[in-house]
């Protein structure tokens, strides 16, 4: 069934067929990922992935701040003599690597709900929630947000955690899911 569905979903490449592809995806979720909601005693007081919510925080300015400790390390990027590391949903650590024997963290670019980045020339591309920000870092002490392209990067991991196992069914009216934390919860009815 799983193999069948994976193959069956491949032909749906045209936008016209996207709906069918989505239907196929749902079929896959039902058959392969097996997200189920359970009734019974085994869902109370268990270890489960618990969604961490955050109110949608879209921004109109970006700010550079002093360096800070890495708490939740995210994706990495290299550009010229600099190394960048995302702080999950908080922004980007900037590391000066011009002395390769002694690279040092120098600053933090605060971008709420950021997970991805890329650079070309003096321009940093970074997501803020599902918007793409274009930030001019030509004068890096004064980064300026030039523009944003909205809804270019739909959020992932909203319906279920990336890991398999029991999880608290998300309630998206509480905000967006920015993380899934494994912990003991009073009730976890969903299973992936």
């Amino acid at each position: 069934m799983q193999r069948y569905c994976i193959k069956a979903c491949q032909p749906f490449q045209t936008p016209y067929m996207k709906l069918l592809s989505t239907a196929c995806l749902l079929l896959l979720l039902a058959s392969c990922v097996r997200i189920t909601e359970e009734e019974g005693d085994n869902m109370a007081n268990v270890m489960a992935y618990d969604p961490v919510y955050r109110a949608i925080d879209t921004i109109s300015t970006v700010t550079i701040e002093g360096k800070r400790s890495t708490v939740k390390a995210g994706k990495i990027y290299a550009y010229g003599n600099y190394i960048f590391q995302n702080e999950l949903n908080e922004g980007i650590h900037i590391i000066d690597n011009s002395n390769t024997a002694q690279p040092v963290k120098i600053a933090f670019l605060r971008i709420p709900m950021n997970t991805e980045m890329a650079m070309k020339g003096n321009y940093l591309y970074a997501n803020n929630h599902d918007d793409l920000l274009i930030i001019d870092v030509g004068d890096p002490s004064k980064p300026s947000l030039l523009r944003k392209i909205e809804n270019v990067f739909p959020l992932i991991n909203q319906q279920y955690p990336p890991q398999s196992g029991r999880f608290v069914c998300p309630d998206l009216s509480k905000g967006v899911v920015v993380d899934w934390v494994l912990r003991k919860v009073p009730l976890a009815k969903c299973l992936k």
Partner: protein, 248 residues
């Protein structure tokens, strides 16, 4: 603080780190940077490609200050990573690797799909070198296979990738290569493979100091995303990474 500002001011200086050596570094003449194998953003020349859960988006960045969304192509589902290689994009999903041509940069064309028969569900960061593509396939609980693997595919005929070999690993994540060394991140540590015999990676060293998540081989530096930040290694000797520092 003044010192920091001074350092920041030099930020705009684009050093042309010409990659005379064969490496996975994605710096190009147009002055873009280099991402890891788990990235969802990729820059190829004047175009930026973005993958979300199901779609590939193309943005024209000929004027880098003003990207313009040009195209959205449905790819599949559970898309996780994008890796540009020459005029191709390798798009990793939890089930398969999709290979697209960007010969026409604004209209990516699907060429093929690489599938490993052993594993039905996994996470698929992928990199390519010459006629070989490497992917880490992480088994995934309920629907996964029994063994996570590093897989090597023959991509000489890009329309028909053929799996040539697999290597068992614990719980793999990102990967990258510099010359003949392939660095594979694993829950058990960093695995260094000799890939002089491309289709048959040979494990030559393991750094067992905790989980590694992704790497960027960047000239003579190996930039590693580890649990609490970064670990930077000197890889002047490709097969013997030497720790420079950890940054938390």
């Amino acid at each position: 603080m003044k010192n920091i500002l001074h350092l920041l001011l030099t930020f705009s200086v684009v050093l042309n780190l010409s990659c005379s050596k064969d490496s996975a570094s994605r710096s190009d003449v147009a002055g873009s940077g280099t991402g890891g194998s788990l990235a969802r953003f990729a820059i190829v020349g004047n175009y930026m490609y973005i993958v979300d859960y199901s779609d590939l988006k193309v943005l024209n960045i000929m004027d880098p200050s003003n990207p313009v969304l040009k195209n959205t192509t449905p790819v599949g589902f559970e898309i996780e990573t994008i890796y540009p290689f020459k005029d191709k994009l390798f798009i990793g999903s939890t089930s398969v690797v999709h290979i697209f041509s960007v010969t026409d940069p604004e209209h990516p064309q699907k060429l093929s799909t690489a599938i490993s028969p052993e594993v039905l569900r996994r996470c698929d960061p992928v990199v390519a070198k010459d006629s070989v593509a490497y992917a880490t396939l992480r088994t995934n609980g309920t629907c996964g296979g029994t063994q996570s693997i590093l897989a090597a595919y023959d991509i000489k005929d890009i329309t028909n990738p053929v799996q040539k070999s697999t290597f068992p690993v614990t719980e793999p994540y990102g990967l990258g290569y510099a010359d003949s060394a392939l660095y594979v991140c694993d829950k058990s540590g960093l695995l260094v493979f000799d890939i002089r015999n491309g289709y048959y990676p040979n494990l030559v060293k393991t750094l067992s100091d905790g989980p590694y998540i992704d790497v960027i081989p960047y000239n003579d530096i190996l930039i590693c995303w580890v649990k609490n930040g970064l670990a930077l290694y000197n890889i002047r000797d490709r097969f013997k990474p030497e720790i420079i520092t950890k940054i938390q």
